[in-house]
């Protein structure tokens, strides 16, 4: 319904992607070849903790999510 029907696939200009979609990928995707420094940062556990804090900070913002389009 709705959105998908109007989508023109591929070769869209590099438009601004939604932060939440990007975080799905850069925090839960990508190959993990552990570096010494980030030993635990690349860990899912810490990412989960970070996201919990994130959500708290997002809640503190007046207008959640829309904020990201304004930069």
């Amino acid at each position: 319904m709705g959105l998908a029907r109007e989508l023109v696939p591929a070769e869209l200009p590099s438009q601004r992607v939604a932060l939440v979609d990007l975080l799905d990928r850069v925090l839960a995707g990508g190959v993990v070849v552990t570096g010494e420094i980030t030993l635990s940062v690349a860990d899912v556990d810490l990412v989960t903790i970070s996201l919990r804090a994130l959500i708290a900070s997002v809640s503190a913002l007046a207008g959640p999510a829309q904020e990201e389009e304004t930069r």
Binding site: M1, L7, P9, V26, V31, I55, S57
Partner: protein, 280 residues
Amino acid sequence: MSDDHGVWAYAITAGNDGADLSVLTGVAGATVRAARAAGLIVLVSDVDLAEFGEAALRRNLEDLDWLEGVARAHHAVIEDASRLFPLLPTRLATVYSSDESMAAVLGARREELLAALERVGGRVEWGVKAYAVPEAEPEAPVAAESPASAASAGAARGAGLAYLKRRRAQLSARTESWRAALAAARAVHAHLSAHAVLSRLHAPQSPQLSGDQRPMMLNAAYLLDANQGTGFAAQVSAAADAHPELEVDLTGPWPPYSFTGDDGQAADAGEDPAGTAQDA
């Protein structure tokens, strides 16, 4: 590398075909370079450990603005480079103390990384999210439950019971519509998976983070040959049309973040599109 600098990795590739990477700007405005590591090439930039060291990262990852800036810079490098040659994105915040130590870590996993590169070469990722359509609340006229309309205590109690009954019916209707939406999401995922090289389920997005209050029933990624985008978008549209109980959103093409081969991520068969199982 000096003691106060580290190496931030963006992506791993088998070869950059001589592409000039110095035009790419990475995190903190740093210039991107190609580092040789164990017969692979890693796109990296040098970062200040005062900002990107372990302790600093722990702190900075909690800062949404900082995280957004870094995530977008990381993505920009990966996206631009992925148009030039096949690559495996590395997870955000992979920092090494030097090129040498990076080579040592990568060398131990060289074969696995080459196999993953082979798998994603010439392919892109598409994201599909599906939400349950917010059900039209069959709200009774407001006046019927207004206390002002109740002439006596008995009438008020009658109205209260009627309200509870109606509320129960609403909740049961909602449960039913969610169940239908979940079943539809499963069907859509199975259908799209059949058209994709690989598929992967992500956890449903947090409404707080996305700003979208609709219940998310599917948050999936599909790996497709680069020239299959149009056909896949048509499949998504058709699936959306076939399931009016869902609202479907397509994003992409993305570099193959979700198919780098870690965490058994490429192996899902779509048993639980909404991620309600304890796997996340």
